[in-house]
Symmetry: C2
Subunit: 572 residues, 2 copies
């Protein structure tokens, strides 16, 4: 096995591919060097001057970087399959991702995990798959699956499982919940990396959290938070996602600490990737924010490889895997050529691989299990005239609680002509019939119902609407299509749907179609009044995420996250 | 298991040890921070301000560094057992070493390896044991053991084996020798680190060598060599040994490349450690040479931990093992307290652990197998009057070849009154009777014989002398004592010996006795004429090392290393 590399390095045999006359971003020395990058089969065999290749690319004036590594991403947030996701991100220079399939595992359990692993093997993208650690994320809701400590102990040994996904249940860690400890020790015992999720945790509490064997954090927002976490031995992700962009952290990157900073996208929509890019976009942003370009590339390559124990990845040197990106310069980072394991994987922004042969096992299809509903199911009966209404920020995912006067009529709230709409969560995994009911202020949408089968983290159906008939139609449409994004217009008497046939989270259609079809629905939602500052659909995904303050709605009712308990919709 | 750390970090239980008010060398952020380091059992649980410990140490004005890590060392070169070695180096702040037991394995095979592993487990020093890769080092000599590819395949899986030791056989790597490839792939297949040894190898040849999966190099001498190796993805050791000090490399350490530089001692005598220190000495030297002290500490801690995939070692942070050194300042690096896995291991330069209970399995004792010899065995018969005589440098380990006129008398060379002495190598493993014979110029020793059972890398008996009777006495004394350092004075009719009872390489006596006794022999050797620029005994160890130019003597005869073949002693 080694002979072919050694012999090619020594010019005893020809190389397969040579990138000639490139400016090479050397993440080891922190310098730009000039030369040819010689590739045999899947690995780089040398950087030199006289290598001959069966295929040669003139890279004069271009830069060659190591393939980019995304340190933390939920593929499902793109609403694309692993194959579709790869076909969008690889052309932007990302060749390795650390993926946490937290969403699909909340819906489909290990079937979801195994689907992601197998689908991921079909594309030229290295997917280091983390085992989700917190399924379900909270005790308040009905998820599709429950993964306990015992199941974690068994599955973490899977050779296709890279580590344990973000440990959001920090109260469980700090309280030494036995099932939590079992999960942490399971990963620890097989020497696999445990990802953190520690927003605003600091001081001795952070010490305790890290003592769970937790290695990194992608939730830093402030410079102080990042500095403390690095001092305490954590790797810190600088995140450039669709909602969450921690670019403030760029200010805290120094030559002394940068080796502990890695890049990630966490959640990024297909359209965002398609129009704005992936880690190339992140590199542009951090360089704009003042980070030295070579340091930025290190953050998106070598540092992440080190954090996750990826050997022979993240650098351009002999014996390293030939994951390479040829870019125009270190400002725009436009990926002209992308190589994965030595093979051309993308050129001029287009994937050079085919994803039309779809892998769609039965186990992850038809995941929406609800009975057919009627308008009456969406009546909201208040005892009094005051209700606990959810408010939302114009940007970000925090919510608030406002006590409002709400009129009722015929055993239902009467919200016509107000700035309040119904917020509904319909359980969709086990046909429990649970329908969580709430009210939301200032969402803006009028004249029907809008909803989707994606709702962090249990992924029940979340709906907003002002008409019970339309809410029922929307739910029934999602039931019929096995999930999706839906919009029902009362005036047009019409249902618009973008199916998300895989676990109700992802679409098996081609990425561009998904981008275009969902854009139509988004445009329609704005037309029907959604506030311009909000992203229709995507902002709704978080209304059920009962780990972020202040109040959330799940299938079993309204949750006050700060009190860590249910609260009634009635305010008194 | 994790609960105890989490609870101590959260102040729910007391800590065991707290280092109060310290200046902490933070290798993650590259800064000095102030605080208390709190320890529970074997790990640090936090750096904070209000931790209480069963035992507390006031560290006001002191610095706390992570325990130092030696990236490449042959314990045997100290002539001490692993226990004795630990008792000398731990008080200097070294808590982890990557050890290559190349010497003892050349003598005793895997018995030697297993002895080192088991002995090492008896002391508070983390010994990451590498499996020697090149036993024997050359095809010219008779070693005690041969380790082939198949044996390597099996032994590399040993959980106590950390990786594959320095791959000195670079012609074998470059030539894709099947047995060499088998060894490399064996380590590769179990994801263990392969150490390099690549003096002066550069350019595309270096590419080929690295394609053997080789990770690091401790043989860099020049700044250019180091820069190229770092650019090519290698970790580079900055070495501060007894002979080889690559302090020139300090000039090439930059903020951009320093993360790829690690420190090592390679070969260091007991006396050197006792009088001058270990990695603390190395830190003093590199800081003197201009390296920033925090960078220097990183090179001796975190960087090495990363190179060798040591998790939770090399830094001061929650969940890291409590390997800690309290020093007076970052100039002298005087170790006042040393903690290993949370326990006090040394104080004020003295080991706090006992090594008097010696582990001495039969397998590594009585390793000198030679028949009793007589004066006649040391006659050197030349055919003519010219001989290929070995010359040596005043410092360093290179040798030269000089053709000299040599007189003969009674079937033996007549060297009386000349600057030439006999150089002898007696095979001592398999009683083959092989005696390699040569001549050496300007060693200075007169009036007897000097020799030892340490001779790189096959460790046959190396002798220098001008009297056949004394050469025989010296050999027979080593035979009787199972190895050692020996000196025979004809005038005094006396034999001086320091036994090296373990594999003929190491002494089971206590370290200080060894230091003192060998110093007496060294003084005697100088008295008998050894050039002041040479180290008696230690300089002789390398006269048989047939991998370093120009000529060497092994048990089968004289070797021209450049020609890679035997040459006769007769010059024409």
């Amino acid at each position: 096995m080694l002979e072919k590399y050694i012999e090619a390095a020594l010019h005893k045999t020809d190389c397969d591919v040579v990138l000639k006359n490139a400016n090479i971003v050397n993440v080891f020395s922190g310098t730009i060097t000039k030369g040819d990058v010689a590739i045999k089969d899947d690995r780089i065999v040398g950087v030199g001057e006289n290598y001959k290749g069966t295929t040669e690319y003139d890279c004069t004036g271009k830069y060659v970087m190591p393939g980019l590594i995304d340190g933390h991403v939920h593929i499902e947030s793109s609403m694309l399959t692993p194959e579709g996701f790869a076909s969008l991100i690889v052309p932007h220079g990302t060749t390795t991702i650390v993926a946490d399939p937290h969403e699909i595992v909340n819906v489909a359990g290990f079937d979801g995990l195994h689907y992601m692993i197998e689908a991921g093997k079909r594309v030229p993208l290295d997917i280091k798959m983390q085992l989700p650690s917190c399924v379900p994320a909270t005790p308040f809701e009905t998820s599709g699956a429950i993964i306990n400590g015992e199941m974690t102990e068994s599955e973490i040994k899977n050779v296709d499982v890279n580590g344990l996904g973000e440990f959001m249940n920090f109260p469980g860690v700090l309280g030494c919940d036995p099932d939590v400890i079992k999960k942490l020790e399971a990963a620890h015992n097989v020497n696999k990396v445990i990802d953190g999720h520690a927003p605003m945790i600091n001081g001795d509490t952070l010490n305790g959290y890290i003592c769970g064997g937790i290695v990194n954090d992608h939730e830093c927002v402030t410079v102080e938070e990042m500095k403390e976490k690095i001092e305490k031995g954590m790797y810190v992700h600088l995140r450039v996602g669709s909602y969450t962009k921690s670019l403030e952290l760029a200010k805290a990157v120094t030559p002394e600490n940068s080796r502990r900073v890695i890049m990630c996208t966490d959640d990024r929509h297909a359209a965002d990737i398609y129009y704005h890019g992936h880690l190339d976009n992140a590199l542009r942003k951090v360089v704009e924010a003042g980070v030295d370009p070579i340091t930025a590339v290190r953050m998106a390559t070598l540092n992440c490889a080190e954090c996750y124990h990826m050997r022979w990845r993240g650098g351009i040197a002999p014996f390293y895997y030939a994951d390479l990106v040829v870019v125009d310069d270190l400002t725009n980072f436009n990926a002209e050529l992308v190589f994965k394991d030595g093979k051309l994987a993308a050129k001029g922004g287009k994937a050079a691989f085919d994803v039309s042969d779809k892998y769609l096992p039965e186990t992850i299809l038809n995941s929406v299990h609800v009975r057919e509903v009627t308008a009456d199911d969406f009546k909201i009966t208040l005892k009094g005239t005051k209700a606990n209404v959810m408010t939302t920020e114009s940007t970000g995912v925090m919510t608030g609680l406002e006590v409002m006067d709400i009129k009722s009529k015929d055993g239902d709230v009467d919200i016509k002509g107000t700035n309040v709409a119904k917020l509904i969560v319909v359980e969709r995994h086990h046909m429990t019939g649970n329908i969580g009911k709430g009210l939301i202020k200032d969402y803006g949408f009028k004249g029907g119902a809008i909803g989707l089968s994606v709702g962090h983290d249990s992924h029940n159906i979340t709906l907003i609407g002002d008409d019970n008939e339309c809410l029922a139609k929307a739910t029934n449409a999602l039931r019929e299509h096995g999930g999706g994004m839906v919009l029902v217009s009362k005036e047009e008497n019409k249902t618009y749907i973008v199916p998300l046939d895989i676990a109700g989270l992802m679409s098996s259609t081609d990425p561009l179609t998904l981008v275009e079809e969902s854009q139509k629905l988004i445009d329609k939602a704005y037309e029907m009044g959604v506030e311009k500052t909000k992203e229709p659909f995507f902002s709704m995904e978080f209304l059920s995420l009962a780990v972020i303050p202040h109040i959330r709605l799940v299938d079993k009712g309204l949750v006050d996250v700060i009190k860590w308990s249910f609260i009634p919709l009635d305010a008194e």
